[in-house]
């Protein structure tokens, strides 16, 4: 039982990394921009967040710093793909390369450093006393709690506000949106930058709150897993909860196979997240559920063609 609680607790804690990033990518993709640079943005956020936390000892500044760098990375992608109309796949790959390179380049001085400041666990009064559930869900730090609320807010913005409508229609029918008075280019810029901000924060959560250290390439594919989780979530922020935590849970379960007396080579266990991601995608493909796929995702939008 305690094993199970530990695993479920770890599922929430590690799922949070993916949840921030998945929400960020959903925002971007819903506007019609495919950002394959998640891995690079996460690494930049992880490095810069750690750097700020180390030098200023302020956690708030660390998160803000990571948000800023994430937003800047988003801005680069927006500029490349929207203004310069570059291929979104290539620009995303370049962003991933740039992020992993630049974070390693500047991060050399942060390797092996330890942080003084730390996110403290804030047990939620009463709720944290519920058996099992309390320990698993209501006994985390503030970053995890914020991630609980974030998808709700994004869902609300998507479905109940004018901005959300503009965002979704930019991703579906950019041309008719423009005719209806929506500034597609502006909306896509905002969505790509805001998406970058949340992906950057996910990186800082990873380095500052979760693992509490900086290692070159520490995201080890989480950015790509995120892109798969967006598909799994069917671009719906509320389903993203399920995707991120379920994925976190299964991965933790896999990593703890030995605890259940299942013999499996430890080195191969490292492959579990990647294999699971592929299985997740397979599951979605078999269910054939991709109804929210933005119609204009990945296509350049030429305002000039409006004539």
């Amino acid at each position: 039982m305690t094993d199970l609680i530990t695993i479920l607790f770890a599922a929430i804690a590690s799922g949070t990394i993916l949840l921030y990033a998945t929400i960020g990518e959903i925002i971007t993709e819903r506007s019609g921009i495919l950002n394959l640079g998640v891995e690079g943005i996460m690494l930049m956020g992880a490095f810069f967040g750690f750097y700020v936390a180390y030098t200023t000892e302020s956690l708030l500044l660390a998160i803000l710093g990571a948000a800023l760098i994430g937003g800047l990375m988003g801005l680069i992608h927006a500029f490349m793909t929207i203004t310069l109309q570059a291929n979104q796949v290539v620009s995303g790959l370049a962003l991933t390369m740039f992020g992993s390179g630049a974070s390693a380049f500047f991060g050399v001085s942060m390797v092996g450093k330890t942080l003084k400041a730390s996110f403290e666990v804030i047990p939620i009064p009463l709720l944290s006393k519920i058996p099992v559930l309390g320990e698993v869900i209501f006994n985390h730090n503030i970053m995890v709690y914020c991630a609980f609320i974030l998808p709700l807010i994004v869902w609300f913005v998507f479905n109940r506000t004018k901005l959300g409508l503009a965002l979704r229609s930019s991703g579906e029918e950019p041309l008719s949106s423009e005719i209806m008075g929506i500034k597609v280019i502006k909306v896509r810029y905002i969505a790509t930058i805001v998406g970058g901000i949340f992906i950057g924060i996910s990186g800082a959560y990873l380095s500052v709150a979760y693992s509490r250290l900086w290692v070159e390439g520490m995201t080890s594919g989480k950015g790509w897993i995120t892109i798969a989780l967006v598909i799994f979530a069917n671009w719906n922020p509320l389903v993203a909860y399920g995707g991120a935590y379920l994925f976190g849970g299964l991965t933790q379960l896999g990593l703890n196979l030995q605890k259940f007396n299942i013999v499996f080579p430890i080195i191969l266990l490292k492959s579990i997240p990647y294999v699971f991601t592929i299985l997740f995608l397979l599951f979605i493909s078999l269910k054939g559920k991709r109804s929210n796929l933005p119609k204009a995702l990945g296509e350049s939008y030429f305002r000039e063609s409006r004539g």
Binding site: L84, L93, F98, K270, S271
Partner: protein, 352 residues
């Protein structure tokens, strides 16, 4: 308030295109210089160091060529897939899987006479790479799974599998994660110029063969047709799934050859660092070269100059190793951004 106005160009001259590309590379170098300066190193000295270390001596040139070989293989691997508009981001994993496959024969199989041994190893490397690429191919064809994500994720798995053997059955007597040194029969001959080995000829022969296949055979036509328009390809009676599958296999096989060429040509053993991201750099090579096999050679040379130069920056000027990746990314960004200027006249106009 200014606005950008685009006017489609009627045609672009080769000269104009070249000038735009060169300016883009220039801009990327300036940006790289800023990065280098941020680390307290004079960027002009650094650039000079890159050029002299890669091209300034016969040793430098030979070491640059040593890097060109795997880049031609991975560039071709990504390029052939791009011809059919398929993204193989998995060359790195296919490289490792191919190398692991060939190594298994060296460790468990008999030692054959050299020509036979090398033939077997080359074939096994290609088969290994192709097998690893067959997974995303099937996932794409049967389940419509996006190949960008699947090929990338499988890189991690392939490297894990290699690690499994390196840290397990194959580890050296001193407990370090590398195999015993390969016997003489399993080593590519050198051509008498530094560490440059006959893998270079294999790569160049494949460049020619692939060029002929792509532009002068029916298979190549089918392949390019699938890339230009799925609808048109279907209408022309091309079996798209079969074509895609074949393309993936060829792509994986080429990446696997990069792996064999690294272990049999340079390292003489399998270990964790047989590739310095050649699979990923291959994406840049292929994309910059528009997947044309001959131009792939040119960009493979260009990027290996950069890689060799970055390596010496790391040693001589104590810049972090990642400086090479940053420079590659900046070049990719700059050229990607310059595309617009090739197809349009970009004008700033006063908006309302």
């Amino acid at each position: 308030m200014y606005k950008i106005k685009l006017e489609q160009k009627e045609r672009v001259s080769k000269r104009e295109e070249l000038i735009i590309t060169l300016s883009a590379i220039g801009i990327a170098l300036v940006l790289s210089g800023i990065f280098i300066a941020l680390n307290g190193v004079n960027p002009f000295v650094a650039l000079w160091k890159v050029l002299t270390s890669a091209l300034g001596s016969s040793y430098g040139i030979s070491e640059t060529l040593v890097k060109t070989i795997p880049l031609i293989f991975t560039g071709l691997a990504v390029g052939i897939a791009l011809n059919s508009k398929l993204w193989n981001i998995g060359a790195e994993g296919q490289l490792f899987f191919g190398a692991t496959f060939a190594t298994a024969f060296i460790i468990y199989g008999p030692v054959l006479p050299k020509p036979l041994m090398l033939t077997v190893l080359v074939i096994l490397g290609a088969v290994g790479g192709a097998l690893w690429a067959a997974i995303p191919a099937l996932l794409k064809i049967k389940f419509k799974m996006n190949e960008v994500i699947s090929t990338l994720l499988l890189n991690y798995v392939a490297i894990n599998i290699a690690d499994y053997f390196l840290f397990g059955h194959w580890k050296g007597k001193d407990n370090f994660p590398y195999t015993p040194i390969f016997p003489e029969e399993a080593r590519f001959d050198r051509i008498g110029f530094g560490r440059v080995h006959i893998g270079l000829f294999l790569a160049l022969v494949l460049v020619v063969l692939l060029y002929i296949m792509l532009y002068h055979t029916k298979i190549g036509y089918k392949l390019r047709m699938t890339g230009s328009s799925l609808k048109a390809a279907k209408y022309a009676g091309i079996n798209i799934n079969k074509t895609m599958f074949m393309v993936f296999l060829m792509s994986g096989a080429l990446a696997g050859l990069a792996g064999v060429s690294q272990i049999c040509g340079i390292e003489y053993k399998l270990h964790q660092h047989i590739s310095t991201d050649y699979g990923y750099t291959g994406i840049i090579v292929a994309w910059l070269a528009r997947s044309n096999p001959f131009i792939i050679v040119i960009f493979a040379i260009f990027l290996s100059i950069l890689l060799k130069g970055a390596e010496s920056l790391q040693i001589a000027m104590r810049l972090p190793a990642a400086v090479g990746i940053v420079m590659q990314a900046l070049i990719l960004f700059a050229i990607l951004g310059s595309e617009l200027f090739k197809n349009y006249n970009v004008k700033l106009i006063r908006g309302k």
